[in-house]
C-alpha cells in the first residue's frame, strides 16, 4: 500500500496524472459552469427584494467558497508535506496558493459590485467582506514567504508551517470580525441572510459550485505540471518529457 502510494507521489507519476486529468476536469467544469450560468441568469426567477441584482450570487458565492477551499487544501497539503515528507505535496500547495488568492480577490470584487446596488456603497466594513480581505492578506503572506528562501525546500516547509498557523487562525479571525462589527455599528446595512431558496434558484448555484471546484482542479493540474517541471528540471525524465 505504501510503496504504491510513494510511486504515485513520485514526480513523473504526478506529472503524468496531472496531464491526464486536466482535460476531464476542464470539460466537467466548462459544462457545469455553462449550465449554471444559463440556469442562474436565464431561468432563475428574480429575487423579490433584490430583483436581478442578486444574480451575481452565482459567481460570488462559489468564489468565496473556493477561497476557503483552496486555503484548506493548501494547509492540508502543507501538513502532509511536513509530516510524511512528500515533496510533491509542497508542489500542490505552491500551485494552489495563487489560485486561492485569485478566488479571494474575485469574491471581494464581486462582493463590492454587489454592494453598490444593495448597500449603496462599494465597500462596507461588513464582517464577511472584512474576513475575506484578511484571508487575502494571509495568502499574500504565504505567497511572499515561499520565494524569500534561497533554498526552495526550506521555503516550501516555511510556507507550509505558515499556512497551517493561518488555518488555525481563520476561524478566530472570522469570529472576532463578527464580534467587532456587532460592537461598532448596529445593523445600518440590511444584511443578506441565508434565505431558503426555491429550487429554481438553488440548482444553478449548486451546479456553479461543482463547476468552480472542477475548474480549480483543472487549473491546479496545469500549474502542478509547471511546478513539477520546474522543480525537477535537473532530472533526466524532464529532459525527455520536454524533448518529446
Amino acid at each position: 500500500m505504501w510503496t504504491w502510494f510513494y510511486k504515485l507521489a513520485s514526480p513523473p507519476s504526478v506529472y503524468r496524472t496531472a496531464t491526464a486529468l486536466t482535460p476531464w476536469f476542464m470539460t466537467v467544469a466548462l459544462i457545469a459552469i455553462a449550465c449554471g450560468l444559463i440556469g442562474g441568469l436565464g431561468f432563475a426567477p428574480p429575487d423579490y427584494q433584490q430583483g436581478d441584482a442578486f444574480r451575481i450570487i452565482y459567481v460570488h458565492v462559489p468564489s468565496a467558497y473556493m477561497s476557503l477551499f483552496c486555503y484548506s487544501a493548501m494547509a492540508v497539503a502543507g501538513a502532509i508535506g511536513l509530516i510524511w515528507r512528500i515533496k510533491m505535496s509542497y508542489a500542490l500547495a505552491a500551485a494552489t496558493a495563487p489560485i486561492g488568492a485569485s478566488f479571494t480577490a474575485l469574491a471581494l470584487v464581486t462582493g463590492s459590485l454587489w454592494g453598490k446596488p444593495m448597500w449603496g456603497t462599494y465597500w462596507a466594513w461588513d464582517p464577511r467582506l472584512t474576513s475575506e480581505l484578511i484571508l487575502l492578506f494571509l495568502y499574500a503572506g504565504v505567497m511572499s514567504l515561499r520565494p524569500a528562501f534561497e533554498d526552495p525546500a526550506r521555503g516550501d516547509r516555511a510556507a507550509a508551517l505558515l499556512s497551517i498557523v493561518g488555518f488555525v487562525n481563520v476561524p478566530i479571525i472570522h469570529f472576532s470580525v463578527q464580534w467587532w462589527n456587532s460592537l461598532h455599528q448596529g445593523s445600518t446595512i440590511a444584511k443578506i441572510g441565508k434565505p431558503s431558496m426555491p429550487g429554481s434558484m438553488l440548482w444553478p448555484l449548486l451546479t456553479m459550485l461543482l463547476g468552480f471546484t472542477c475548474f480549480y482542479a483543472a487549473v491546479v493540474c496545469m500549474r502542478l505540471r509547471g511546478e513539477v517541471l520546474n522543480r525537477e528540471r535537473q532530472s533526466a525524465w524532464v529532459r525527455e518529457a520536454v524533448k518529446s
Binding site: 499574500a140 511572499s144 514567504l145 524569500a148 528562501f149 516555511a158 508551517l161 497551517i164 487562525n169 464580534w179
Partner: protein, 234 residues
C-alpha cells in the same frame, strides 16, 4: 555520536531560567534595543493627533484604536532582537543542538522577550493614555488588555521571526506574515478599551483576549520551534 552526548546536562526548568537570565542581562547591556521600540511607540501615537485633529474629544474616541495600532507596530520592531543576534553568532544552533527541548528554549526566550518589550510597553502606555485623553477609569482595562495582547503578539511575532530568521530582507516579510494573524487581537484589545470608555463592562472582550492568550501560549511554542527547525537546518 553516542546517546550520552545528547543527554542534557541540566533539567529543562534550569535551562529555561538560565536562558531568561541571559536574555535579560543581554537586553540590559544593550538598552537601546529595549528603548527604541518604546520611543517608536510614543512617536507613532504623536503622529495621530497631528494628522487627525487636536480636539481632545475626538481623540478620546479614537484613542484605544490609536494606542493598539501603535502597540502592534512597535512590537513588530522589537521582534528583530528576538532571534537574529543569536542566529548570526551561532548561539541558536548551539541551543538547538544542546539536547534540550527546543520548545522549552523558545518558551524561555519569548517570555523574556515579552518582559523587555511587551511589559515595558504596558508601563509606558499610561503616558500615551493621558496624552490622548483616556479617562482614568479606563486605565485598568487598558493596561490589562495591553498586557494580555502584547503577550499574544510576542508569540505570533516569534512565529514570524522564527520563519524569517535566516533571510536577508526579513523585516518587511515579518510584518506581512504577522499582521494578518494579529488582527483579532487588535479587535478584542481595542474593543475592550472602547467598551470601558463607553461605560460598558469590558469583561467579555478581556475574557476572549485572555483565552486567545492561553491558546497562543500553549500552541505557539511548538510552532516557533518547528519554524526554527526549518530555518536552522541545512
Amino acid at each position: 555520536m553516542s546517546t550520552a552526548d545528547l543527554e542534557p546536562q541540566v533539567s529543562a526548568l534550569r535551562a529555561m531560567t538560565l536562558i531568561v537570565g541571559r536574555e535579560l542581562r543581554l537586553s540590559f547591556r544593550r538598552p537601546e534595543q529595549v528603548l527604541q521600540p518604546l520611543v517608536f511607540f510614543l512617536i507613532v501615537t504623536t503622529l495621530f493627533p497631528l494628522g487627525l485633529s487636536l480636539q481632545l474629544s475626538l481623540l478620546r474616541d479614537m484613542a484605544p484604536g490609536v494606542l493598539w495600532v501603535a502597540a502592534l507596530l512597535s512590537s513588530l520592531l522589537s521582534l528583530d532582537a528576538l532571534f537574529k543576534g543569536d542566529a548570526d553568532d551561532g548561539t541558536l544552533d548551539q541551543l538547538a543542538l544542546s539536547g534540550q527541548s527546543l520548545t522549552a528554549i523558545v518558551l524561555a526566550k519569548t517570555a523574556s522577550h515579552w518582559l523587555v518589550s511587551g511589559a515595558a510597553l504596558v508601563l509606558v502606555s499610561p503616558l500615551v493614555g493621558i496624552a490622548l485623553g483616556i479617562p482614568w477609569g479606563v486605565f485598568p482595562t487598558m493596561l490589562g488588555s495591553l498586557a494580555l495582547g502584547t503577550l499574544c503578539l510576542s508569540w505570533l511575532g516569534a512565529i514570524g521571526a522564527g520563519l524569517t530568521v535566516g533571510l536577508k530582507r526579513g523585516n518587511v516579510l515579518v510584518s506581512l506574515v504577522v499582521l494578518p494573524l494579529a488582527m483579532p487581537l487588535l479587535i478584542f484589545g481595542a474593543g475592550a478599551t472602547d467598551r470601558a470608555a463607553a461605560g460598558i463592562s469590558p469583561a467579555g472582550a478581556l475574557y476572549l483576549l485572555g483565552s486567545l492568550c492561553v491558546f497562543t501560549c500553549t500552541l505557539a511554542p511548538f510552532a516557533v520551534a518547528a519554524a526554527l527547525r526549518i530555518t536552522l537546518e541545512g
